[in-house]
């Protein structure tokens, strides 16, 4: 058979619903409605029955709750909790009412289940088609035992990815969709189920956050600004000081390099929340640092490390350096050793001093290798919850800001406070989407620079 003929041959179509409609027999076409039929008629009874059971389970689910869950999504509930007149008995009764939050959650679950079902439906039709094509070629259709066995070989991705995908779907994707949808509702402190309903408001939250003149937008923009400043300063301070420290320890004539490194590594090995809690108790008004500064005669009264906005911002940056510099140091050490020694030798012969060698050789080399790291580090600093939450708790609080937000709050810590303290879930979700946009923008830059995904076969 020549390749031209092969192309025409219906047996060589990509198996799926399309091939089933175009080339399949009546069973193939029917298998688009009765899952597993394509397998059953071609001798794969167990597989086919399994598919059929899935379809039955889905239909039962949809009839019992799924369909109504999705239908209710459009309104998020209409019946408010309250007193309803019961004509039979002739008195007012407390009626449960609709719970918008649960309606939204169950609706999202129903949608995810449906998407999953569509994927399985596609797979079932494709499996039936595959069996048909194999039969048409006169080849043996694999039995159920052989199918199971193939999970350890050519189908190992199904075996290995089943649990991870299920986990991500249930505990990451579903909650995410739920929260993203929440950004388009008015689920705030005044619309708390089960007492109240909330409903769709479109882009209202985004408008309020960004363009209105009230407290909300005059909180959002300063917090966003501080988040970006924090991201840049925290990233670069740790980066440059870490490089400096690594070079210092690596430099000629320093004995006991391992011991020095270990001293700094201790701080990064201690779980972050412990060192941050310890430091936050140290810099408090009655903390040991203020006590010592007064005993030493540096100041007469306690310094406002955490209570003055400017001081608090500097404190979190400095404490973050205390934690972050060892990380960079550890990472950079290996890279520094990889810089070709000839470069330094020839620079020395040409009479370059230490500063020039750093500026012309070490730094460009480092920057070249670590740019992706810098950008990912910037993103993780924007989302760096720990230093802010454990040190200042976002404080000092200010009346200029929307309830709860403080002068050192990042977008993430504000988001957390909105969900945990004031129950403004719609705002939290909106801010989450803003953070996503920022992260995605910077990730895109890394992604395009690093080529890691594009050329993944490159060095094999």
């Amino acid at each position: 058979m020549s390749s031209k003929e092969q192309k025409k041959d219906y047996l060589f179509q990509k198996p799926g619903p399309v091939s089933a409609w175009k080339y399949g027999d009546i069973f193939s076409k029917l298998s688009c409605f009765i899952m597993g039929l394509g397998n059953i008629v071609r001798g794969q009874a167990v597989k086919g029955v399994l598919f059929l059971l899935i379809e039955i389970a889905y239909i039962v689910y949809m009839i019992r709750t799924g369909a109504s869950s999705i239908a209710k999504l459009t309104t998020l509930g209409t019946q408010q909790q309250g007193l309803v007149y019961n004509e039979e008995i002739g008195i007012y009764e407390m009626s449960q009412g609709d719970n918008s939050m649960l309606i939204l959650l169950y609706g999202v679950v129903a949608i995810v289940v449906t998407v999953l079902f569509i994927a399985l439906w596609y797979a079932s039709v494709a499996a039936g088609e595959e069996a048909r094509i194999l039969k048409g070629r006169g080849k043996k259709v694999p039995t159920f035992a052989e199918d199971v066995k193939s999970l350890a070989n050519e189908n190992i991705h199904k075996l290995f990815l089943a649990i991870p995908i299920l986990g991500i779907l249930v505990f990451t994707v579903t909650p995410l969709i739920y929260m993203i949808l929440m950004a388009f509702t008015n689920y705030d402190a005044n619309h708390q189920p089960p007492g109240n309903l909330f409903t769709w408001v479109g882009l209202e939250n985004f408008k309020n956050l960004m363009s209105s003149t009230d407290k909300l937008s005059s909180t959002f923009w300063p917090v966003l600004g501080w988040t970006l400043i924090w991201g840049v300063v925290a990233t670069f301070s740790c980066y440059f000081c870490g490089i400096f420290l690594a070079m210092l320890i690596n430099s000629k004539g320093i004995a006991l390099k391992k011991m020095w490194r270990t001293i700094f590594v201790i701080t990064m090995a201690i779980p972050g929340f412990i060192s941050l809690l310890v430091v936050s108790t140290m810099v408090g008004k009655n903390g040991i640092i203020n006590v010592l500064l007064q005993n030493w005669g540096f100041t007469t009264e306690a310094l406002p490390f955490l209570s003055n906005p400017m001081w608090a911002r500097c404190t979190v940056i400095i404490v973050n350096m205390w934690i972050g510099i060892p990380v960079t140091m550890l990472m950079v050490t290996g890279i520094l050793m990889n810089i070709p020694a000839e470069l330094y030798e020839s620079a020395k012969i040409d009479g370059a001093n230490a500063f020039v060698t750093f500026r012309k050789i070490t730094f460009p080399y480092m920057l070249f290798i670590t740019t992706p790291y810098l950008i990912t580090n910037f993103i993780s600093n924007i989302n760096n919850f720990g230093p802010i939450y454990f040190l200042t708790g976002g404080g000092p609080l200010t009346l200029e800001y929307y309830k709860g937000a403080g002068k050192t709050d990042l977008l993430v810590t504000w988001l957390y406070k909105l969900t945990k303290n004031s129950n403004d879930f719609n705002l939290a979700a909106t801010i989450g989407l803003v953070i996503f946009v920022i992260s995605a923008t910077f990730s895109l830059i890394t992604y395009r620079r690093s080529n890691a995904l594009k050329n993944e076969e490159g060095f094999q």
Binding site: Y178, I266, A269, V278, N295
Partner: protein, 420 residues
Amino acid sequence: MKKTIIGLNLKYLLGGLVASVLCGISVFLPYVANGNDTVIGVLAVVKTLSSGKGVMPIVLLIGIAASLLMVVAGIIMAVKPNIPLARIWVVIGIVQAASYFLLLFGSKSMLDSSGILSKSFMVKNFGVGYWLALAASFVALFLVMKVAKINPGYIVLVILSIIWLFPILWIVLTSLRAEQGYYVGYFLPKGFTLGNYQKLFSADSSVPFGRWWLNTLLVAVCTCILSTLIILATAYTLSRTRFRSRKAFMQAVLIIGMFPGFMAMVAVYNILKGLGLAQTLVALIVVAAAGAAMGYYICKGFFDTIPKSLDEAAIIDGANRWQIFTKIIVPLSKPIIIYTIMTSFLGAWSDYIFPSMVMGDNKTWYTVALGLYWMTDFRRIDAYYTQFAAGAVLVAIPIVALFIWLQKYYVEGLSGAVKG
């Protein structure tokens, strides 16, 4: 007159000598200048030694003696340079710089108690003599180290190490402190005790720390086993097999990873509640394992560097994919497996936000992070501060030990992340 001696760098000799002389002169300049009360360095020693208490007057005496010795040693070096003397010069320089540095912190107590000054003393009342001595002593030390061909980077490293270890030293000392309470006006405890540790584990304590510790250990062990298995399986599949929706899966994970994790926490809590898992340790394990696959990236990068020809050879020998995974890839991936185990194990110890969401106020099932945070609440900090310190030490010690032991693998994983 140009001499060269192997092992010495005489270029800096003159500078070192000048700095030493400046230090020596500073002794005769005003040490304190508080209004009309002005005391020069030498006189301050005489006065404080006769009336002052504590070690600080002695430190001052040592500093001044070292300054004079520096000059003497410098002059001898200029006349007859030799290596042993250069070493001695460096040692004197260290003593000198250290004493003037200590005086920056100790002078207030010394001067306040010795009655030299009628007014209270502040650092800004230091006279020109002190500041000159401090600056010149460090410059002299730097130059003298250059002369002796010792890397002056040690000065910076020592100062940085002190800064870095200071909070750690403080918490260790606090955990051993006999006096209870958050506010104390001194650094070194007046009395030492192990009682703070005992109290954490006593049965009648309102702080079931032993329980919290075991809770965390349980969560950490289960999480790291499950997460590691899931990450290895995901990374292997994505690195070694090619299937239709592979790229789509990778891109989806990339995009999902860009959402801030906190955003979905409320929803995760609701789902856990629906599954009947709220306020249990199982919830922590399940959620950590469920999200583990998102962190496949570093591990896949490592697998990508294992030559594919190994797989092909194994396939020719009749191995299936499962056997390639267990018999070839896993044995070759020790560093990355240890890295994965380590990060997920450590992550379980330091995670605070999610456990706090899941556990609420159910103190029995707290992990150490929740428990320690609970103790530092402003209503409780005074009663529990020393116990908090003891708890922090008990959590930190095993983790730091583990980390330093496996540091090599951590660095490998970290540089894998950089290259990615």
